[in-house]
Subunit: 374 residues, 2 copies
Amino acid sequence: MTAPFQFDIEAQDPDSAARAGRLHTPHGVVETPVFMPVGTQASVKALSQEDLRTLGAQIILGNAYHLYLRPGTEVLEAAGGIHRFMNWDRPVLTDSGGFQIFSLTGLTKVTRDGVTFRSHIDGSLHTFTPETAIDIQRSIGADIIMCFDECTTYPVEHGEAARSMRRTLEWAQRCRDHWRTRDSGRQALFGIVQGSVYEDLRVESAERLVEMDFPGYAIGGVSVGERKDEMLAAVEWTAPRLPEDKPRYLMGVGPPEDFLEAVARGVDMFDCVMPTRNARNGALFTSQGRINIKNRRFAQDFGPLDPACRCPVCQTYSRAYLSHLFRAGEISALRLNTLHNLFFMLELASSVREAIRHRRFGAFKQAFLQAIAA
Amino acid sequence: MTAPFQFDIEAQDPDSAARAGRLHTPHGVVETPVFMPVGTQASVKALSQEDLRTLGAQIILGNAYHLYLRPGTEVLEAAGGIHRFMNWDRPVLTDSGGFQIFSLTGLTKVTRDGVTFRSHIDGSLHTFTPETAIDIQRSIGADIIMCFDECTTYPVEHGEAARSMRRTLEWAQRCRDHWRTRDSGRQALFGIVQGSVYEDLRVESAERLVEMDFPGYAIGGVSVGERKDEMLAAVEWTAPRLPEDKPRYLMGVGPPEDFLEAVARGVDMFDCVMPTRNARNGALFTSQGRINIKNRRFAQDFGPLDPACRCPVCQTYSRAYLSHLFRAGEISALRLNTLHNLFFMLELASSVREAIRHRRFGAFKQAFLQAIAA
């Protein structure tokens, strides 16, 4: 018998910090490293839940800010939670909404207590505190929920980054206290490391969060415009200070190459809108690098998108047909492109797990990066 | 052994002109009465071909005007025809583009020889003649192709309707001559009855076309703004004058109630964008009549869209979830709504065939119409 959120490390790469594990949740086991498709509004854009099952998605993301506004916690509670609402019986993770509130809304006031903001939909006024962010995520009912964090912009001065990180630590403590008095063991709360591009702040944030003892830890405040080496530095300063036996989640990352580099530095969980957003813009992953399907050179290319890909789209349609659908503005292009790009990321994660288990992660990573750069 | 386009009447309703039949084509048999989903640009909007197979679509429509502009006949020929291009191995019918040219384009010149128009995409200048319309449809490679017709607006004076109908007859003869010298037996050409709302013109058009001896006949010039009784009158004047042993196709019709009324008057084939277009606007068919899913009253309605429906959407998602997806602007709403509405029409056609075969079409029609009016 395993505890609801036990995390087992099954294999450790001898040449890097990469590890393969199994994260138990009330809705099943997630094999790590894992890529989590983003389903902001209880829907991965352009796909159905049957599509997600076909692709082999193990866990998907929702967003507390978006779901609070639409459909609202009242509807989600009446439905019996997000799993029933969207008919998805595998694990779900919700972000607390901090990032969205700081990036999407008309902010009106940020105090030590919380944040007052205007909805990006109708301008209505709302307040999130660490406590309400937890309550909202309890109503949504995801398996993994996140602390409410203040997100700084990039770039940000050291002083402001320090002030913000320490407020996020205060909020993390309040989230943890509130969650612990209410949790029935069905939801795991993750802390979020902040501190921007400053090593001392990242270290302080990680160490203080670890003292609070969370079931898992995220590295936040990345994918906000910083350089790739800055993002990887944030991982390098942080990951070794997080407990070996707890899952580590790098928020909002990323492209295949960043995924591999972060796995090599000990990260277990990833989410990113890039595969799905790129797909809707016609930018598609292949084992030989990225292509844009709307390019005229594909008009009479009757081969598959990626001859090496086993996804349902590559088995069925030609580049010429996909290019036509995209240029003709057909809605089906959005779904087919999304299916392909998500399959690519999920397959990459699956291959990474296999490589780690078979002690050939370094070779796999090198070969993959060489092929897409060719 | 049956000829490529043999049409067998299997059952004749004793109380109406409704009949159930089997139309053989090089890509398989189409059971009639049949509803044909519209796939204008080699894609039924929001769906994949796998979706169409799941729904049980027997035959789909393409449009010569749209396909000529995009992807173009060169691409379709290089692909080996529309079936291979879109990976659809069941029958396809293409409209000649007459209706689209007269309704969508900047017309520049209509002569006895043909029509010069400007593309609705980029304003470029093109000319269709009866002969080029056949050649384009030969490049596309549909199983059933249509004569090039001049489409009048509604309302139109008798004199203008007569002139236009007679020009369409001339063009029909030229289409037939051109097709017959080039056809290898893989494409059936249908004539199109015109004549607007005038009985004498509809009769003249039908009788002259029958003299030309086509493999099938369409009733065109409907769904252009006329009243429902005018549309049904056009069917009543025409259908009895068309050969018993040839399929009859009512172009651009229609809603479930019109479908039933036209079947009762002897029509075998139908197409209409209404189920798919309505779906994308949130207007959904149910066995109890139409609903608009964006209505707030569905926000906490956790039952299926239509409890009587066996479609994949009604088996999987609630009204509340579908309503949320639509109001939140999710792309997946367009596909799920389309799946449901098309299933509804295809299931209706299937039930109609069963009812005719079991000599209970009249009772079925009455019960269906009463239920949706309730």
